[in-house]
């Protein structure tokens, strides 16, 4: 390991611009002639649009244009689509209702965009938007997925009878029912996974620029995957041809999944720029973000876990209703299906699993992937039911888990996934040691002497990352392949540019990807540049989500580096009249092994471009590209243990200790990996204790639409975390890495809730465990 190579705790290259205020986010962009947009949004959750009167608004100061859905339709702009086809268990395709970028005829959630106002300033656009008169005829509203399925519920889309999008299943129903029927013990629970708002600190923004001189479009946008944005904008929405559309996602201020998808505003700003002849910029207010960013989670599940007389798990049955909101977002159908139910085996050998998932339209914001995307929902079910079962069976939660761990790999679960490697005992041991599990009874007694309730909770998670083998996801309904691309360009002076289809929005790719190159060629990280986020520079890519940039994105870079290395060695061998198999690369030099002959890296690079003395028939230059398609998912896993103290007088929970023991396979930069865990755990603790999205059931108004109503975790709400890693190398990619971006958000919510229910002696508690809910649960337990 070099000072800057793989495994080194290197400070980030990208930090300097962020800490000096030189980061360049979409809302920072200014182009000549740029004007500002504000959207007219529906104040109603469900209504017919009878008319839109813009006459007064058009006369307001600074107004350039006001456009609505009818004009969008005139120009042939397509519907927003869901990119993953799921079939119901009867074989029928999912029932997708139309989603217009600007609503026509009907609005289906509060915040549904109806028109765009373009004006000289943002303030003028906002003023004029308020003067647009939309005549609505309100319709009945439904916000709960369970209610929406009932006969007589308000109907959102004619395509979806009873609002049901699909009724899907996975696993073996008969075997699972048989296991439950013959079980020595069955633990049954009803579990709600609360709806969340991702809340990256940078609100979404879009700047659309149409240049009529060459009919070219540019879109600056806050995106996690600009190439997919370009693909969808051109292939499905008919906004611009792919070769005439450049999508740039510059510095992006966090995503957590919510910036994977295409939103109406991006389509409309780009289209509006052509319609109006001026560059159009929109940036989102925070309340607008609450109303329009795709939300996460929102499941209601009934579960049964069966055990034999020796406490071995024999079956697991899950019935889930998932709320997908008013429209189907880009990946919304994959989240409660293949990203969720395929993880229901967890870390455990379970012979029979069956899950049934119904997805439902409601008058709420569309729901899509949020940090973990399906895996947190699966982990929460499993880790809550195991903790509950341990209490019912009178064994310790650690022992029940350990008894049922999978220990032989590869392990084929009954729900598609084949785990390639893992050591679940190692992370459980590490976490129990780190939190001093054996010392807990003494700490509980001490807390009781102060009148406090102490509890401890375990969660053993597994997730599937590195999304995913293209052929596999294609066979399951995905609309795109999920490989990644890379290009490595060695310049004539030996500096190196790496172009990647991944996108960094906080994950530190400029640093870790540079470490990879520094390790390989022995050059300094400063001579490596990472280029990403611009479709004019990087040909194609699939972006960053599902912890895929390491396992898939870096593997593509490794493939390109292999090709560069091969050619570099050929050139060096030629220059030194040696055999290429004898060339080794060390410390920035290409050496003939066992001799003192060497050529500096930069000299080899220069030779590649002067082309005065290259091997016979070799093309000049040193630039190689590669596509990497993973052969399997990767399977990060670990154990989180949380210790809490509850104040019985107020119901307030304090997290007194939190340990995370993760297995991410090989680690490139431990500092960055720890940071990812900290952030994920904070979001998981947020879900468990603080964050909840509440709609008024009658009106469909979002009651938690600002930071004054939606409780974001603040520094004072969280402890310092104790994180550590164990390592089983991932066998399915060349680096042996698994991914670390989502683990914290997946593993922590059940650890928290298990700890609180342990403290208060009442298992009936839903997230977020607010002081009010905990206080009430304590009272009902007494």
């Amino acid at each position: 390991m070099g000072m800057e190579g793989i495994g080194a705790r290197v400070a980030r290259k990208e930090d300097k611009r962020f800490i000096t205020g030189k980061g360049r986010y979409t809302d920072d962009m200014v182009v000549p002639g740029m004007k500002h947009a504000h959207f007219v949004r529906s104040p109603h959750a469900h209504a017919k649009i009878k008319s839109i009167d813009t006459s007064a608004a058009e006369k307001m100061p600074g107004v350039i244009s006001i456009l609505n859905g009818a004009q969008l339709t005139e120009d042939g702009i397509g519907n927003i689509i869901c990119g993953w086809m799921i079939h119901s268990k009867d074989g029928s395709p999912m029932n997708m209702g139309a989603w217009r970028p600007l609503a026509q005829d009907t609005v289906r959630y509060v915040g549904d965009a109806v028109a765009i106002v373009v004006a000289d300033s943002k303030a003028q656009a906002r003023d004029a938007a308020e003067a647009v008169v939309v005549d609505y005829e309100t319709l009945p509203v439904v916000t709960s997925a369970v209610d929406a399925l009932k006969d007589g519920a308000p109907q959102l889309h004619p395509e979806a009878k009873n609002n049901q999008i699909f009724d899907w299943e996975i696993g073996d129903a008969a075997a699972t029912d048989a296991a439950i029927a013959s079980a020595a013990h069955v633990t049954e629970m009803k579990i709600v996974n609360n709806r969340l708002v991702p809340n990256p600190m940078e609100p979404r923004a879009a700047l659309g620029v149409y240049d009529d001189s060459d009919e070219h479009y540019t879109l600056w946008t806050t995106s996690q995957n600009p190439h997919v944005a370009r693909l969808v904008l051109s292939a499905f929405y008919n906004v611009a041809p792919e070769n005439k559309l450049r999508v740039i996602a510059p510095d992006v201020g966090g995503g957590f999944g919510s910036k994977i998808y295409i939103y109406p505003e991006e389509i409309v700003c780009l289209w509006a720029s052509k319609r109006t002849g001026v560059p159009v910029k929109w940036n989102c207010d925070r309340t607008e973000a609450f109303l329009t960013d795709a939300h996460g989670r929102d499941h209601e599940s009934t579960i049964k876990m069966a055990f034999d007389a020796d406490n071995n798990i024999t079956g697991f049955k899950v019935d889930t209703i998932a709320n997908l909101g008013a429209y189907m977002s880009l990946f919304s159908s994959s989240v409660p299906t293949y990203l969720y139910a395929t993880l229901l085996s967890g870390q455990y050998a379970i012979p029979a699993i069956h899950a049934n998932v119904r997805t439902v339209y409601t008058n709420t914001v569309p729901v899509d992937a949020y940090r973990g995307a399906g895996r947190p929902e699966a982990c929460y079910l499993l880790e809550r039911v195991l903790e509950t079962a341990a209490r019912e069976l009178g064994v310790t939660p650690a022992a029940l888990r350990r008894q049922n761990f999978i220990r032989e790999f590869p392990y084929q679960t009954p729900v598609i996934m084949c785990y390639d490697a893992g050591d679940f005992d190692a992370s459980l041991d590490a976490a129990m040691t780190a939190i001093d599990y054996d010392g807990f009874p003494a700490r509980r007694a001490e807390a009781e002497s102060r009148g406090k309730k102490r509890g401890i909770g375990i969660s053993c998670y597994i997730e599937a990352c590195g999304i995913a083998p293209s052929a596999a996801v294609g066979s399951l309904g995905a609309g795109v392949g999920l490989w990644e691309s890379a290009e490595v360009r060695v310049n004539a002076v030996g500096t190196i540019e790496v172009l990647t289809g991944s996108h960094s929005h906080g994950q530190g790719h400029e640093t870790t990807f540079s470490q990879l190159v520094a390790e390989r060629f022995g050059v300094g990280m400063d001579s490596v540049s990472i280029v990403h986020g611009d479709t004019d520079k990087v040909q194609m890519g699939m972006g960053t989500y599902g912890s895929r940039s390491g396992a898939v994105g870096m593997s593509a870079i490794v493939k390109a580096l292999d090709k560069v290395e091969t050619k570099a060695k050929k050139i060096a061998a030629h220059l030194m009249e040696a055999d290429e198999s004898d060339i080794v690369i060390e410390n920035g030099e290409l050496k003939v092994a066992g001799t003192d002959k060497s050529v500096p890296w930069f000299q080899m690079a220069l030779a590649a471009y002067t082309a005065h003395n290259l091997p016979e028939g070799m093309e000049p230059g040193l630039k190689e590209g590669a596509f990497y398609d993973p052969s399997n998912f990767t399977f990060p896993a670990g154990t989180y243990i949380c210790e809490v103290e509850v104040d019985p007088d107020t119901g307030k929970t304090t997290v007194v200790d939190f340990v995370a023991a993760d297995d991410f396979g090989k680690i490139i930069n431990p500092m960055i990996v720890e940071g990812q865990v900290h952030g994920g755990v904070a979001q998981g603790i947020g879900q468990a204790l603080l964050e909840g999205t509440h709609y008024d059931a009658e009106t469909g108004q979002l009651l938690t639409a600002s930071y004054m109503d939606y409780t974001m975790p603040r520094a004072d709400d969280l402890p310092s975390f104790k994180v550590s890693t164990t390592e089983t190398v991932c066998p399915s990619n060349p680096l042996g890495i698994k991914g670390c971006g989502e683990a914290g958000a997946i593993g922590s919510p059940p650890a928290l809730i298990n700890a609180i229910t342990d403290a208060i002696g009442n298992n009936d508690l839903t997230m977020p465990a607010t002081p009010e809910r905990v206080w009430a649960a304590l009272r009902s337990a007494q």
Partner: protein
């Protein structure tokens, strides 16, 4: 419309702005200093914190006209002579940032906090006083470490210098 003049990062600036223009808009749009960010519309997130006459202020809570005659420091004015401010350096050293969007406001709040407490800060105080700044990436763990480390390195000397 109002005419405003102020000193921003040591430079005298003036301009005409609508009465309703916020200080953060003046800084970002009129002066082109985009390091100061807008992360919410309720003065909760702290991405827009700058110093006005030496005190940390949410620049989305103050009208540009109210800052007339003031001495304003933004994140762009914190480093001097090409040297990072010790708080900036500590954020980098301790990985106290990820996406970087909340970072300018976070650093400006931290500088103010250290100038008030000097080297006497403890974790509890740092966490309590970061109440007005939201970070969604770091879980605050490394931010707290960075602030404590910067405070201990700057010590009481920093307190005097800031005053």
């Amino acid at each position: 419309m109002a005419n405003v003049s102020m000193t921003v990062n040591g430079r005298s600036v003036s301009g005409q702005c609508e009465d309703r223009m916020l200080l953060v808009q003046f800084i970002r749009e009129n002066l082109g200093l985009t390091g100061t960010h807008v992360g919410c519309d309720t003065s909760q997130c702290g991405a827009c914190v700058v110093h006005v006459d030496g005190k940390a202020v949410k620049s989305c809570t103050m009208l540009a006209a109210q800052a007339d005659g003031s001495d304003v420091t933004t994140i762009e004015g914190l480093a001097s002579g090409g040297e990072l401010h010790p708080v900036q350096a500590a954020f980098r050293e301790h990985h106290g940032l990820q996406c970087g969007f909340c970072t300018p406001g976070m650093i400006m709040s931290a500088v103010d906090m250290i100038s008030r407490h000097g080297g006497q800060l403890d974790e509890k105080t740092v966490r309590a006083e970061l109440e007005g700044n939201i970070c969604r990436c770091t879980g605050y763990h490394n931010i707290v470490k960075a602030v404590l480390d910067a405070a201990s390195k700057m010590g009481d000397g920093a307190k005097v210098a800031a005053e």
